[in-house]
Symmetry: C2
Subunit: 299 residues, 2 copies
């Protein structure tokens, strides 16, 4: 482990992932633990981290650590507040919070980002902003739209190299609770892939208010307009359709894990939206590398 020079940590509500990087910013080793915020009791963040690092790297006392995610929220280790849009990677670096760990090494937490919509509502995120700027430096584009599918999907708008606005859609979480806790998922057999049911969901989305439209998931099943095994696909299409039909561009980036991105990619194909799919981990590490450079430039 001699070549490890610094550490990157993605510390979220349910997951903990750590990446050991060398001086050139190349990944040397990584680890993942079931140590999300919900698992850390009584604010034992530094001792939890110490246990992971001892088991994983042994020698780690001198390594500086860069962290992002919900670890910087009010429910996390240190509440780092939010940077307001429009924002750049330099602003994120400038507003990040550095402190000394009990074993002497330096830790830095990247702040979240907040956007106030013209209607006065706030959107917030923690973690995706790092991926976004990682993507931006990889692609060298000043203006684009990027989607980050997930529990709470983020649609981000980059204008003149700055993150100018973003919107959150609770698509993933709604899908999950509707399927697991509502009448729509009650008594379903094992679900199967179905492009037809997914397409039907997309085509029917946004034609009616969602609280009404969702009920057709029930009646389609009742009258065999969709098969019992395809309810999940129809519902997925309905919710992703509601989200994608808000887009005003026909050209986007999709950032995230393969499985979810390929579902969104299929939806975009149906809606004739051009897509570039980007691996979420790649741009996360690159984003952290860029933030590290920006932090060093400031010194």
């Amino acid at each position: 482990m001699k070549s490890v020079d610094w550490l990157i940590i993605d510390w979220g509500t349910t997951n903990f992932r750590a990446f050991a990087m060398n001086k050139e910013g190349v990944l040397v080793s990584k680890t993942e633990r079931p140590l999300g915020l919900l698992q850390v009791k009584n604010n034992q963040f530094s001792s939890s981290l110490k246990v992971v690092l001892e088991g994983w790297l042994g020698e780690y006392q001198h390594l500086p650590i860069l962290m992002a995610g919900m670890v910087g929220s009010a429910q996390g280790w240190i509440d780092t507040c939010y940077v307001e849009t429009p924002t750049s990677i330099n602003k994120l670096a400038r507003k990040s919070h550095s402190f000394k760990l009990p074993w002497g090494a330096q830790a830095t937490i990247i702040p979240g980002v907040r956007y106030r919509s013209p209607l006065g509502n706030f959107d917030v995120m923690r973690g995706e902003e790092v991926q976004l700027f990682g993507l931006q430096t990889l692609e060298s584009k000043a203006n684009f739209v990027a989607l980050f599918p997930g529990t709470h999907c983020k649609h981000m708008q980059i204008n003149a190299n700055k993150l100018s606005s973003f919107t959150t859609f609770m698509t993933g979480e709604l899908f999950s609770i509707l399927l697991n806790h509502s009448i729509l998922g009650a008594g379903l057999p094992k679900q199967q892939d179905s492009l037809n049911a997914f397409k039907k969901g997309i085509s029917e989305s946004n034609k009616k208010p969602l609280t009404n439209q969702l009920f057709y998931t029930r009646t389609h099943r009742l009258f065999a307009d969709i098969d019992e095994t395809e309810v999940s696909e129809y519902l997925s299409g309905l919710l992703i359709g509601e989200e994608l039909k808000t887009l005003t561009t026909k050209n986007i980036y999709l950032v995230g894990d393969n499985k979810l991105c390929s579902r969104y990619q299929k939806a975009c194909q149906i809606l004739e939206i051009q897509v570039s799919v980007i691996d979420g981990d790649d741009v996360f590490l690159n984003g952290m590398l860029q933030i590290k450079k920006a932090l060093n430039d400031e010194k």
Copy 2:
């Protein structure tokens, strides 16, 4: 119990209610049991019913029974199918299903109703149609709109004395699963009444796609735009607002129980919709009485 002439049963998914009526159609006695469809095992409907009647009335063998609700669904006692809109009370009576009970008495199940929207989607109901026609004969109106708040709220349109169309909104169920199973309800303190938070929810509803708008329930709480104790009221306003803003009339009936109707009534006041509130039980019993008369006229 000599004066009891016939029985009315409202048999739903989670509730069983029975009403003993005299010859003049006046309520003599009623009972309620935790004997919804979900509690009746192995299709033991007639033996379950027998146990209730023996305990409640003793002598019941000669009494004809009129039933409505999910008891007539595929998951119920006998699948009575659906009558198509436009429909009248006479059509409901004509299409109801009569059969002999093991103890010799006659039972009749009122069918459900189905509406096919111009987009080709189906809405369905079982039980509310009885209340609707009970309301109609009480009010003697040929054209009106009636709302039946609940787990799945129904908006019904009466034209020329017939039920011409209706729409289902999953307002109640969405409210419940969002509060109990999503991040919006996570870690909330005891909730309190708040007209302001309810108003805010109504005023913000339908401005954005719901999958996006719902997330503001989270950020309003995060930034103290609404109090921790008022999240439930805001969410209720958001979902009821989405529903009520689809109305094209400014004059409606609200049918149901007091608590839920008074919540909808408040929302209508805010949206300047004129409301007549009608007790759900009254119009249910009256609807069953009218159906009984129609059945007798046919003989």
